[in-house]
């Protein structure tokens, strides 16, 4: 589904990703963990080309993302992204946040888009907030709206960049529950997270990144309980 080949990314002289090879299969949930600055966000952002790729290739369903012939806007409609800071549009109500792209890009009618939005709001448990503005919502609620907004484009893959790190502890669960449900429904997901409980429970595979490389990867039980690499052990020792 997503194939990453020899991905390099540098910011000026700073090499952040130094050759990543990875493949995400359909319906798979992959959690990416690793120390701060190891390039997790950059990796995720390269997948939908929010960062320009320095070298290597990324394919989504066989289409090379970083090819000048590829319509990147089209690719992005197939790849949903959820950010640490939610990034809801503050000048739009919750429902407008969700319906904007489907109406504007998928050319749904207003009523079609609103029905879809209400359905998605039901799914994330926020139907009654449809006509509120984002700043009237708690962080956890905002993040659930952000998930609904991404889902409204009916993406084939969802990327999450530390979706719960900006939340107060009591709100983490409500967001993780939505993500778990999504995983059970068979959504292909790549999740950068520090929530090891979530990774253990939901992930099909866990990837440990450090220093711009994928150092180790495998099923959660294996990676968490019997890490092979020294750096993985050191990292897990610190956080578990």
């Amino acid at each position: 589904m997503i194939k990453v080949e020899n991905l390099h990314k540098s910011f000026g002289k700073l090499d952040v990703l130094k050759g990543i090879n990875y493949e995400v299969r359909e319906k798979e949930v992959v959690c990416v963990i690793g120390p701060s600055g190891s390039g997790k966000s950059t990796f995720l952002r390269c997948i939908n080309l929010l960062e320009e790729i320095t070298d290597g290739a990324i394919y989504i369903e066989g289409v090379q993302v970083n090819d000048s012939k590829t319509d990147i806007n089209l690719i992005r409609t197939e790849v949903g992204m959820v950010f640490q800071q939610f990034n809801l549009f503050p000048h739009m109500t919750v429902i407008e946040n969700i319906t904007m792209a489907p109406m504007f890009i998928r050319k749904l009618s207003k009523s079609e888009a609103e029905n879809l939005a209400l359905e998605l709001l039901d799914k994330v448990g926020l139907r009654e907030k449809a006509y509120n503005y984002p700043q009237q919502l708690s962080g956890g609620q905002q993040q659930r709206v952000a998930i609904a907004r991404a889902l409204a484009m009916k993406p084939k893959v969802m990327l999450f960049d530390e979706p719960t790190s900006a939340l107060d502890p009591e709100m983490v669960k409500e967001v993780l529950d939505v993500m778990k449900q999504l995983a059970h429904e068979g959504m292909t997901m790549v999740v950068v997270t520090h929530e090891m409980g979530f990774a253990r429970e939901v992930a099909d595979r866990v990837v440990f990144m450090d220093g711009g490389y994928i150092v180790e990867q495998g099923q959660p039980e294996k990676l968490f309980d019997a890490p092979q690499n020294e750096r993985t052990k050191a990292f897990l020792g610190k956080i578990l």
């Binding site: 929010l50 409609t77 992204m81 990034n87 809801l88 549009f89 904007m100 509120n132 503005y133």
Partner: protein, 235 residues
């Protein structure tokens, strides 16, 4: 200074000049402002561009016009630029409006650039990640938020431009200040004509201030759903 000996009757005799002056000042300012906003939008967008061939000319223009006195710009435009380019002068009105447009565009460009750049980077990224093009994201997501932040400084710019428009008297434009100069020149009275000119400018800036405050309220930054249901148009 003999305050008790004010000759307000002189002003009354020259009322035609002052009334005409008010119109000239208003037309100069409004034309200059509208033109300056339109041109300023292009310059401001140019200054936010990553493309160097777009960025540098815009930056150069803005620095040039912000770095030189408006009085000098007016004289160059009226006496040198327009006669050279067109082979003739089109009068103080055309020169004056041109100068005001070119000058205020530079200031407006900075306001527009700053407004756009004040919007969190995440907004553009979120819009792009949904599949919007840069232009679509600008129009739907960035500008509606940025415009709210631009209104107060753009209002200040309107007031500044109104006051600066008095500089066109140097090319003999018959605006408010020019009427005062006529009176003072003919009768060697200074208090009355210039005080009247000052009060007229004050009146006009007062009206603009109220107007800007009104617009600001309509575009108010608190996104309150109730206001929306009352039929207010959000940008």
């Amino acid at each position: 200074m003999d305050f008790l000996d004010m000759r307000w009757d002189l002003i009354w005799d020259y009322r035609e000049f002052f009334i005409n002056g008010i119109w000239v000042t208003i037309v100069l300012t409004i034309c200059g402002y509208i033109g300056g906003i339109i041109f300023g939008v292009f310059l401001g967008l140019g200054k936010t561009s990553k493309r160097k061939w777009l960025y540098w000319p815009c930056k150069l223009y803005v620095d040039l016009f912000r770095g030189t006195p408006m009085l000098v710009q007016i004289l160059i435009i009226h006496l040198a630029l327009i006669p050279t380019v067109f082979g003739q002068s089109f009068g103080f009105m055309v020169s004056g409006i041109t100068a005001l447009i070119l000058n205020s565009a530079a200031y407006n460009a900075e306001i527009i650039r700053a407004g756009i750049e004040s919007i969190d980077k995440g907004q553009m990224e979120a819009a792009r990640s949904l599949g919007l093009t840069h232009g679509q994201a600008m129009r739907r997501v960035i500008l509606p938020q940025a415009i709210r932040r631009m209104i107060p400084p753009l209002g200040n710019e309107f007031i500044a431009l109104l006051k600066d428009s008095s500089l066109v008297t140097v090319i003999a434009a018959n605006d408010i200040l020019y009427a005062a100069k006529i009176v003072s020149g003919a009768h060697f009275r200074f208090w009355e004509p210039y005080l009247v000119a000052a009060v007229l400018y004050l009146l006009l800036t007062f009206i603009i201030t109220k107007l800007v405050a009104f617009i600001e309220r309509r575009f108010s930054i608190d996104y309150n759903p109730r206001k929306k249901r009352e039929g207010r148009v959000d940008v």
